[in-house]
Subunit: 625 residues, 2 copies
Amino acid sequence: MMRAVACAPSSRTFCRALRTASRNVHSLSAPASHRNLLSKIWAPGSPKLHNPTNAMDHLLKFGFLYQTASGVFHMLPMGLRVQQKLEALMDKYMSRLGACKVGLSSISSQTLWAKSGRLSLGGSELFKFQDRRGHRLLLSPTHEEEITSLLSNFSPKADRLPLRLYQISRKYRDEKRPRQRLLRAREFLMKDLYTFDSSKSLALATYAEVREIYARIFDELKLPYLVAEADSGNIGGSLSHEYHLPTPGGEGEDFVITCNKCGYTANEEVVARNDIPSGYASVEVDSPSQNVIDGAVDCWYGITKDKSTLVYVWFTSNLKPKREVNTHAIKDVFPDLDSSIEDPKAAFMAFNTQNRAEKSPKLLNIVDGTFPSHLLEKLESTFETFDWEDAIYEPVKPKVLSTISRHPVTQRPLNVLRIQDGDSCARCTDGKVKVQKAIEVGHTFHLGTRYSKPFSAMVTLPESSQADMKDFDLHAKQKGGRGTNVYLQMGCHGIGVSRIIGAVACILRNDEGLNWPRIIAPFELAVIPSNMDLIKGAERIYDILTSSQASGQAPIDAIISDQSSHLLGRKIKDVMAYGIPVFVIVGNRYTVEGICEVECPRLKVKEIVSVAELSGCVRSILDRL
Amino acid sequence: MMRAVACAPSSRTFCRALRTASRNVHSLSAPASHRNLLSKIWAPGSPKLHNPTNAMDHLLKFGFLYQTASGVFHMLPMGLRVQQKLEALMDKYMSRLGACKVGLSSISSQTLWAKSGRLSLGGSELFKFQDRRGHRLLLSPTHEEEITSLLSNFSPKADRLPLRLYQISRKYRDEKRPRQRLLRAREFLMKDLYTFDSSKSLALATYAEVREIYARIFDELKLPYLVAEADSGNIGGSLSHEYHLPTPGGEGEDFVITCNKCGYTANEEVVARNDIPSGYASVEVDSPSQNVIDGAVDCWYGITKDKSTLVYVWFTSNLKPKREVNTHAIKDVFPDLDSSIEDPKAAFMAFNTQNRAEKSPKLLNIVDGTFPSHLLEKLESTFETFDWEDAIYEPVKPKVLSTISRHPVTQRPLNVLRIQDGDSCARCTDGKVKVQKAIEVGHTFHLGTRYSKPFSAMVTLPESSQADMKDFDLHAKQKGGRGTNVYLQMGCHGIGVSRIIGAVACILRNDEGLNWPRIIAPFELAVIPSNMDLIKGAERIYDILTSSQASGQAPIDAIISDQSSHLLGRKIKDVMAYGIPVFVIVGNRYTVEGICEVECPRLKVKEIVSVAELSGCVRSILDRL
């Protein structure tokens, strides 16, 4: 056989002959079993991770994925199955929304990004490179520029709107600090949907439809989720919502606030921007000391992005429980703050000793509403005379800026501390809020004409259109007599596919391993023969459960635990580690009495079931997962 | 509704309420039709391409894809459907091979590529870049390095072999001359399979199995294909086959030679390397002139990569039909040749006038076997004395190297001309060959230990193993007493998914538009109501054909031509332009007599069929496409 392959003539005719021969005599290996077998899935574990303490390490330990570099991963077969289930879920609901699937190139041009103004905004998070001819390219973190440019080339007709296009593809972001594996990766999978309407009101109706569909998608995970008012960030636009999965274990980077009365739900970031007095719960301010440095006053330091200004944030230390500052709130009154520098004082001194001539060094006091007001004058005079902290700033002789103690717009006292459980609601003021650590897994934006204007993406309204023209963004240059040209009203709507995998792993994993909701489990169910003599029985059970004809229902996505060298206990352990939510043990009682054992650790189900009842029993369990 | 979205509280409870409400009152738009409708597919044509003269422009004209930069494409909805069908085809056959699907990162590290030695070999075709920390990265054109590195981390157990892993993902290659759209793109989709065995014989058995599966994949396209012996190139290894789709229109870059007697099939590249006398067909050499410059002798020029040497290739001009040189054959005897320079003489003069000191300029004569032997001495003396071509090389004073007129290994006269139809077979010498222009769409390589050695990817044989040790590549350092460590024997096997789309478009398109084989058609069938009064009838026909219950067979992937503004002729034209291979026209006779018209332009079928017979008729047509 081998010599034949190496040297034989290989025309099509010959190939056909060889093929026919091999089919008849089975000289080549028989096709792989049509049944899913656990022995055939390559799930290489990381032996170093004996007792992973977080969900991400679980994903590594059980061979779902492999990290090749900081924030860069290979999806291994088990992980890829989870990913593909999520992709199918997205496809299903995007299709319901009437969205067409596209595959936009990962390589984009810096010129295009300069046109939208995001080349500098995205800044160092963009992976930039040049091709052999010196063309400046980048790896797209998102595709607003590409799709709007595409739409400006192919102006849709008015009767083709609303137009909805989506893709599920790899995105790239050169994160400053990639961390928590899939939660903040540099190469990741995202579903991004772009919507196009002719008028503002229709675009907002589309936005509502997408929210509706998103809710259905997240419902399918059968996990609690939060829809929070959010910040639009660099993407642009005015209306934006985040979808969060709260993590009981505290993983994730976001704090989402919900009110028990009015239902207000928002990211901590926007609560601060709303600048509504928080009414801290149970504030007990002791009689403050006369000495601002030693007194019952806390201080937090920050530095500006250009490192020219050191920022002091002052607040009372007598709040119970203790508070941290909310850097989003500080940025709201002082946007130049860079909250990511670990030792701002050292950075300030180092930079300003070296760069004296460039920009004069400055000190700024920001004072929270809880800071004792009678100490304010004292604080300022102390700064003016530098008679504090052993005059450590003497070498750089910084100028002291005017203290910020009121919001520039509302003139209310500042509120720059983190909200905590039990604080009053920022919106209704009646309710008490709950703060949950959460992982953002989706984000919707109403973009308006943020991109369609720079890229001149338009639609021509029919002449007969009787609509209220205030509802449109007219293009300045109108063609003569052939309808009105208006800018497309856009929306963009992302779901982090890789992130959902990481977030769900965080939320549902336990000491035994991972634990997937049915809709994204790599397999819904495992059939475990208690020993290899029962493999035929296991195959029969598998065939019953995976047949759609017998039940008239969708087949169950099952797998057989057929590892011949493993004892029953080890097989159960493996199935639980992989997070396959339900398993059926085919033991000796199957042969004798026609019964098996059904287990679902998450629902604490352990039942003895006859073969006749098995399909119904298993399906009713799966419906709850 | 809009105000509610913009300002309403958005807790989960609220969302649920909103959702329930909308479901009941249909305040949000109803879910999109479950039927595929042509009016809902976004297929924006390129208006500039009125009369595309090649298949690639057809793909652009009919909105299958869009080119954003040289060799970089967006897949639009119609094109993506073709791509997804191909992906499903790959998945089906990879599963039969027992291969597990993975998703390796597109970002790889230059360090890894340096380890295999391919960082310099791949050279300027690699897209290289640095991240914010200065780590040197690249966009993978293929994944041998990553997968072998992965395997070296997770040495498979001997009983887990053969291990077969594949992916379908975007690959990157900074082509010098991206051209013919999808055929030579810089970002493209590839299916790559990697196989791992413990011994050489098992690896060759795997290779044979992959060939078998590949033949079945290409059979599904129902197009002629060629399996050619091929060159392993930079990838490495010793055994390699290419899969080609011949193009009657002459698209593509490869010439594939097949013998009518022995079935020998090979790329022109390797035929030359085999260095077997070709026995040119009907060679008629006239009495050659005494003057080598003016005589019946042809000359081709080339230059070396370092531009130091100008190469003359001499052959008789009296062959009928006329011959071109086979640059692969020239490279076989003189590997330094760079055949891509357009004007080698000018390049030689320019470079060597500027860089005299660097490397001394040289002239080389390579003489084909057809060159009249009595002129050889004359040729050489003419060169030595520079008394030809007005001594144009005088300024650079090149040294004349020894003439190459025999193969360095076989000492036979050289054969550096292109093979043509009717030449004798290079292998059996009895048969006559046929030369076909073709597009390479697949490539298989037996790699042996090309990558497993540098990356130390091994498997431990069980102690009981009684195999012939010559069949293994032993690792130098053996662990004591616990079985034998041997290097994994690898194979890699690619199929160009984007390329197949381009190649099939080339082969089957005609003046009416594209023309897809059933297996990759964006839709298998279109139902066309002859006017909008018949839309209900069209829906009924669609439902019959797409139902699996009625026929007990797989549902047909159909679409309704529902564009209300188009007349019947325009609808048929569109369907043919998109290359939907079969269509059913639902006209007035459907209402009156219950009959429709079935058309398949490719098979020249045009039949009147009753509704009862429709499903059977359509399926029998589809089975032939």
